[in-house]
């Protein structure tokens, strides 16, 4: 029976781009459907009734949601390129950092970039502290996954590519080469990878979109 893999996503979302990257690394053929989040399709609402969000992966008619859950599903379903290490302890470490990035870092980074003026200083300080944990976790490795891109690298796509764009659009400086030399280096390695390049949105289009959506920190002064 022919396999049917469909991905519902949006062009600018790091979360749906993560799934694209995982599928491409595994060499899985898929159909992509661009969602308009201001006018969600009946299919999206049917496949993700609880959260009504993208990305949604539909494999032979069965939906999987939440990007980290989807990534583990992809790794378990298709052999070949490993997204997670084989060793249980290393898998636990990978899951820990993936969760840390999404659950802890991202909300704080967002607050630092587009949050309340009053809480700005505190948010920037907190975001820096959290990013420092990630900087230290990288150690001397080329990627979080070691010699090749793994699940944590994919989850950190938002730091590798979107972060710089967020900062440009919002006018806030967070991820500097002086403070985070390893992360900056890793970002370059990551975005230079030929498969990753296929899974990144056009820079200028994204900046314009974000400026329109969130405004700029400098503009409010």
């Amino acid at each position: 029976m022919a396999e049917e893999v469909v991905l519902f996503g949006t062009w600018g979302s790091p979360f749906s781009r993560r799934v694209e990257l995982a599928l491409k690394l595994k060499g899985v053929e898929y159909k992509y459907i661009e969602e308009d989040l201001t006018n969600k399709s009946p299919l999206l609402l049917k496949y993700n009734p609880i959260h009504k969000k993208i990305p949604v992966l539909v494999h032979n008619g069965k939906p999987i949601v939440e990007s980290q859950v989807i990534l583990e599903y992809i790794d378990e379903t298709w052999q070949g390129y490993p997204l997670l290490p084989k060793d249980p302890y290393e898998r636990a470490i990978a899951r820990f950092w993936a969760k840390f990035i999404d659950d802890k870092c991202l909300p704080v980074i967002f607050k630092a970039l587009w949050g309340d003026e009053k809480e700005h200083e505190k948010a920037v300080e907190e975001a820096s502290e959290l990013l420092m944990f990630i900087e230290e976790e990288l150690k001397e490795k080329r990627f979080f996954g070691g010699e090749s891109i793994g699940m944590v690298d994919i989850i950190a796509n938002i730091i590798a590519f979107w972060q710089g764009i967020f900062e440009e659009a919002s006018g806030v400086e967070l991820l500097t080469k002086e403070k985070f030399p390893k992360l900056i280096n890793w970002s370059h390695e990551f975005v230079s990878n030929s498969v990753v390049k296929e899974c990144l949105p056009p820079r200028d289009k994204l900046i314009a979109h974000l400026r329109k959506r969130f405004g700029s920190h400098n503009a409010s002064k």
Binding site: I50, I64, E66, T77, A92, F96, K99
Partner: protein, 219 residues
């Protein structure tokens, strides 16, 4: 070489309870260390510098953090009996989704219910009822969230049973009246030794919350 397993935990924590149940299910011998969360031990701070939180499992000197990550680790290392996750990738994804839902939604709303007053508490109650309704709907007619057998989602949610009396008391409602299927499911789970022996008494948790409210001036 004998395995050395240490669990740093805090007795009322529903997250810690998940790990205790998983260890019991697998028949793993371990050393339990009770943490005083207002005076965290050197060991906790050293082994979990990022979050400084329990539960923390230390296996042969190596730390694993975050309850659901610990449970998956336990399942993968001690894979000889009592599987905690299904073997089919789609069912695993389904289980991970719902366990994540419990993590994101259930703890927060429960806390708001006992820690707030007035309008905020009313809003929390409304949210609480909606979330539990969603869970009850997911359970449906199945004996367990995992289907015929107790699984990952059951494990992630059943530990909140210890806190039901707290929620009922502060929310002024009856869990049995509002969510008969969830209560029936909990009673089914409590027939398992690993769960009945792990979950603290509801009244003890209630007394703990009263103390907590006093300490933090939340009365």
């Amino acid at each position: 070489m004998a395995d050395e397993v240490v669990l740093l935990d805090f007795w009322p924590s529903m997250f810690g309870m998940r790990v205790r149940i998983a260890l019991a299910e697998k028949g793993i011998k371990y050393q339990y260390k009770e943490e005083d969360l207002r005076h965290k031990s050197e060991l906790l701070l050293k082994m979990n510098p990022v979050h400084k939180q329990i539960p923390l499992l230390i296996h042969n000197g190596k730390p694993v953090c975050e309850s659901l990550i610990i449970v998956q680790y336990i399942d993968e290392v001690w894979n000889h009996k009592s599987p905690l996750l299904p073997s089919d990738p789609y069912q695993r994804a389904h289980a991970r989704f719902w366990a994540d839902f419990v993590d994101r939604k259930v703890y927060g709303v429960g806390r708001k219910l006992w820690a707030t007053k007035g309008e905020e508490q009313e809003a929390a109650k409304k949210e609480f009822l909606e979330i539990y309704k969603t869970l009850e709907s997911e359970l449906g007619e199945k004996p367990y969230f995992g289907g015929e057998t107790f699984g990952f989602v059951d494990l992630s949610f059943v530990t909140f049973y210890s806190w039901f009396y707290v929620y009922e008391n502060f929310g002024k409602f009856s869990m049995e009246a509002e969510f008969p299927q969830i209560v029936a499911w909990v009673k089914r789970c409590m027939q398992k030794e690993s769960i009945a022996n792990t979950l603290p008494d509801q009244k003890k948790i209630y007394e703990f919350v009263l103390e907590l409210k006093k300490i933090f001036g939340l009365e």
